[in-house]
Structures are given as C-alpha cells and as structure tokens.
Amino acid sequence: MTEVRKEPYLLEVKDLQVSFYTRRGIIRAVRGVHLKMERGETLGIVGESGSGKSVTARAILGLVDLPGAITGGDILWNGESLLHGKGAKARARKVRGKEMAMVFQNPMTSFNPLYTIGSQIREVLKYHLGMNKKQGTERATELLSLVGMSNPKSRVDQYPHEFSGGMRQRAMIAMALASEPKLLIADEPTTALDVTIQAQILELLDDLQSRLGLTTILITHDLAVVAGVCHRVRVMYAGRFLEKGSAEEIFGKPGHPYTVGLLKSTPRLDELVPRLYSIAGSPPDLRLPVTGCTFLPRCEIGEDSCGVTEPLLTGKKGAREVACYRSFEAESVIEAELEAEWEALARADD
C-alpha cells in the first residue's frame, strides 16, 4: 500500500454478481463488476443490450427483482455495505431513493398518470425532506425551472400526459433531484427521445452535474453520447467490463478489439466510408459456462490461447485497463482489413 485513502469512495461496487433464474436456464447477467465512484465525476458505461449495464445500475439501486437476484459481491456507500452485515437493510433503504436516484429510459411509465407532476414531486419532498405542501410546491416549482422548464408555475399543476417526451424526461430528472441525491444514475435517458431533444437533455445533465456537483453514472448503448458527456468510460460486454479509461483515451486509442469494433461499426456523421465495419456474430449466451474470453468467437485477433482463461482488466491501476491478452493490437489489424475491403470495392466499381 503506497497510499492510504482517508475518505471512502462515495460508491464502491465489489465483484457484483447478478443472475436471472429463468425457465430456460440461469442467466449470469453480471459476472463480477468492480466500480469506484469519486465524488463529482461522470462515468459512462457503454454496452449493447444484454451486456448487463442496466442490471448493474438496478442492482446498485436495489431494483433487481425476481426472476433476478444479486448472488454475490458487495455494494458500499461511503464505505458501508448496503448488502451485508448488521443494519445493512435499513441503511440501504435510507440511501436508495434519497442519496441515489435514477432516471429511466421511458419517462411515461415512471409517472403515475392520475396525479399532477407537482404532487408527485411533492410526495418525494415530503417523504425524504419532510416538507409540507406549501414548501413542497415551492420547491417543486424551483426544481422544474432548474431542469429548464419554461413556465414552471403552471407546469407544476399539469398531468404527465400534458407533457411532451422531452418535457417528461426533464420532469423525471427534476423528480430524481428532489431528494437532493449525491449520485444520479441515468439509464439510457435519451434513447427514447429525438436527437434534437437528446442534445437538450444531455446538455442539461452536463449542466446539472457541474452546478450541483452531482456524481453521475450514464448508462447507454451509444458511444457517441458518452463521448460528449463523460470523463471516464467503461465498456461492458457479457456481464463484465472489458475496458476502462478516460473518454479521450478510449476514443483516441481503443485497447480492446470489441471497443475498436464498436467504434468502427458506428457510422460517423463527419466521414463517409465505402462500407461499414461490422462485428460478426452476436454476444454469447450467458446461460452457458464461460471459458476464456467472451469476445473470442467474434474477435479479429483472437488466438486459441484466448479461449483458456477469461482475461481480466489489466493495465495501470485506476486509469487505463483492458481485459485482453492482445490489447491495443486490434485497431491496426482492423483498419488494414477495412482498407483492403474498400479498395476491392472501388476496383469492383470501375
């Protein structure tokens, strides 16, 4: 130990395991996730559907429900476990909902259609901060204007269905902020929104983060969304992190073949290529036991030896880590391959 931390991390996730017990088999959705959140940072978790990114978030918030269950690991809040030991349950109840809040993908289902937005935010204020009706209404109005809603005084008395998609997402962020949380987890907050509205919401999240000093976890399938907003990025695949680093590092010099593949297969607005790169195949079936690297069947540079033991994140601790035996070798290989393909296409056209 070279350095002893005085202050515990705001949130620490240790070897988190989440499984789903379905009739078709046990799906090991999260297989050992480690995470440390410093106060005030924004972390982006990128992954495709089934990668376990949303399940991780739900597990942190205690929202994993049957048929799923946390089967191992620990979640620490300010150094205290929310899962194990005496008083963990009571602590978890206090922390979840108040100190951490979540913004979901679909804002429509997160509101009760029968109550006004104001009264739903008031409910949170009453429960967590003990505010009375008058204080609650005042604060709800403040919150709505904080998330950039015009005319918050009249918006407070409106029902969810009177809000457009973007407005609802703003209202949901306002509600998440009502309990004055320290950690905000946003699970695909813009996926259901149009791109111009997405830009507005991302800007709002960015703005709130710097103004309120919020610690934020942004979960998304869209690499491009992460690029603009997050300091640190983790790439998740088949229930584990494959790569972590700063946004500049990951986008500038991706280390894992999967990250390279994702970047190359995402069409970019600012460049036109003759043909997109595509990662062959599909993600592994997590009901089956894992032997070796989970990405091996789709990997361009995989070798037989990769199939023996699963690679772990290695690299400079706390900064750039890649879970690959041949890290940083994929980019040049894939680029050369693509160029050859483009040339062949050009020749065929002539």
Partner: protein
C-alpha cells in the same frame, strides 16, 4: 392455437432432428410441462381434479348412479344421509320428499349443469368472440355498430330479458341455454375486441397485411392465436358463472323442469324441508359451490400460467430456494419496476 408447431412442418425427411423433435416428443413435453406447472398450484390441481371427476360422473351417470334419479319410493321419503341417525347405506346421501336418491339426483343434476355450462360457453363464446374479432379488426363503423349493440344490451337488465323469453317460449333445457347465451356473448365480445385492438397494433399483423394476406387469414393466423390466453381464462370463469345462473333460474322455477333435475331445482325443492331435512339443500348447494370454486381456482392458475412474467417469478423463487437457500439472495428488494408493474396490472385489467 397451441404453442407446439402445426403438424405440417413437423416430421418430414429434411427435418433436422436436433432442431425439431418428433410430434410425440413435442406433445409429450407440452403435456408434461402442463402437469408439472399445475402441480405447483395445489388449489388449481384440486379444482381441476374435481372438475374432471364431475365430467366423468356426468358422462357415465347411468353406470355410476345407484338409482334412477326420478324413481320415487314413498316408503323411504326424507331418509337422512347414511352417517346420521336413521340413515341407511342404501341411500348414501339420503332421499328427498318423494323418496328419490339424493346422490343419484346429484350425479344426474351435474349432467344438466355441465351441459348448460358448456353449451352456453360454446355458443356465447363463439358468437361473442366472432363479434369481438369483427368489431376490433374492422374498426370504424362496424366497430361502432357492434359495440353499441353490446352497450345497449348490457344496459338492459339480463334477468328481465330472461324472464320475458322464458315466459313466452316456456322453460326447458334448450331455452335456458338460449337465454343464458343471449346474455353471455356480451362479455366475450368486449374482451375479444379489447384484445384484438392491442394485438392489431403488433408489427407482425402489419407485416401480414403488407405481404398481401387477406383479412380472414390475418385474423385467423395472426390475431386469433394472440388472444386465446385471456379468452380461455374468461371461458372458465364464465362457465362457473353460467352454472350459478342456471341454478338461479331453476331455483326460481324458470329453468329446468321436472322430471328433469338440476342442482338449482333440487335446492328449490329442498327449501321447503330446510329444517327437518337440511341435506336436501346442503348437498346440491355444496355441489354448486365446489364446482364454481374449482373453476375459479383453475382460472386463476391459468391467468398466472399465461402471464410470462408471473411465471418466471414463481419459477425463480422455486429454483433459488432449492439452489441457494434463502440466504443466497442478497438485497433483492420488493421494489417493483415500472414495466413489471404495468405488465402485472395489464394482465389483471383484461380479465
């Protein structure tokens, strides 16, 4: 439409045996999974068993019943059940005011109840489902017209309509079936229409129309298979309701007429002897309640079985208890996610 594949693509020489099992294999597995599933719900198992016994005794009534249900024996009138003072083993459940064997009357009465129940479910179900499919799929004016007829009839007291018809036509088994069917199709029409409206939104229905399938094919192959689950549950519940309604009509003297007998009619006859021969009311009463209860148990199991989420939850609970013991589950809150909540309530609302 069952989940197992229709026979035309099963078998055949080119079929990969790993991908598709033989017909027997697939069916066998379906039956096994059905049995395993209902076994977990003990109440439904008992309910289903009771209904099966009922069907069996109704079908083989002449072989099982010890006496002719109409055979009078004035010497043996109002004999109590065998375990009571003055009872005899020759009449297990005693006899009625005309000396007829109560057990035999129960067995034959069940015949009528089941006949009326299943005939009404079949007739009203078919009519209602067809009307609902038509209204829901065609939409527009067809929908408006059919649903206004339904609304209007719902607003009209069903019992009054039944009384009028029975008074005009005269009571008999077939009139009872007719009257109850006239009243019963409404709920099928409404449930079907609602289900069709939601299945119609599905992309695969759009796709079928897009490739040029005619509307009969779209309804038969794409819409109907998607709505059978709630309809089966509804039919079982309706079956129970019809049995009660038939009993009520017979009790009022407007249903089954002597010499035929039914449980409701027996209750009506026994009413006059309620204090000195309570078994005349109790046994047919129990038969009615048990049948209705059984049908409801089966229906509530069916509802869970056809709700994938509820099914998965129950399965997970069982496996985890088995695999891990309850200590293995960490921090699993009772928090319901929104989607799950929506799914659960949606399931409940349609029924």
């Amino acid at each position: 439409m069952s989940v197992t594949a229709p026979p035309d693509q099963l078998g055949g020489p080119t079929v990969d045996p790993v991908v598709v099992d033989s017909v027997q294999g697939a069916r066998g597995r379906a039956v096994k999974s059905f049995l395993e599933d209902i076994w977990r719900d003990k109440a439904a198992t008992i309910g289903l068993l009771f209904l099966l016994i009922l069907v069996f005794t109704a079908v083989f009534a002449p072989l099982i019943a010890p006496y002719d249900p109409a055979a009078q024996s004035l010497a043996d009138r109002l004999m109590p059940p065998s375990w009571m003072d003055g009872g005899s083993t020759s009449h297990l459940l005693g006899t009625d005011n005309l000396g007829r064997d109560v057990l035999s009357r129960l067995i034959y009465g069940g015949r009528v109840s089941l006949l009326v129940g299943s005939a009404v479910v079949a007739i009203a179900g078919t009519a209602g489902v067809l009307a609902g499919l038509f209204a829901g799929y065609r939409g527009g004016r067809t929908d408006t017209t059919i649903m206004r007829i339904v609304d209007t009839q719902v607003a009209f007291p069903g019992l009054l309509l039944a009384l009028v018809i029975l008074a005009v036509v005269g009571p008999s088994v077939s009139t009872v079936i007719l009257v109850l069917s006239l009243n019963g199709w409404l709920v099928y029409a409404r449930v079907t229409r609602g289900a069709v409206l939601s299945v119609k939104q599905r992309g695969y229905v759009d796709a079928a129309e897009m490739v040029g399938a005619k509307s009969t094919r779209v309804v038969r192959r794409h819409i109907f298979p998607g709505i059978t689950a709630p309809l089966i549950t509804l039919a079982v519940l309706e079956f129970a309701r019809i049995i009660l309604a038939e009993a009520a009509l017979s009790f009022l003297g407007l249903g089954i007429q002597p010499p035929q007998n039914s449980w409701g009619l027996d209750v009506a006859i026994g009413r006059e002897y309620l204090f000195n021969a309570p078994w005349l009311v109790i046994f047919p009463g129990i038969a009615i309640s048990l049948t209705v209860l059984s049908a409801n148990m089966v229906a509530s199991w069916l509802r869970v079985r056809t709700n994938p989420l509820a099914r998965e939850k129950r399965f997970a609970q069982d496996t985890m208890k088995h695999d891990l013991g309850s200590d293995g589950i960490l921090g699993s809150g009772d928090a319901f996610t929104d989607d799950m909540y929506a799914e659960e309530t949606e399931g409940a609302a349609t029924l």
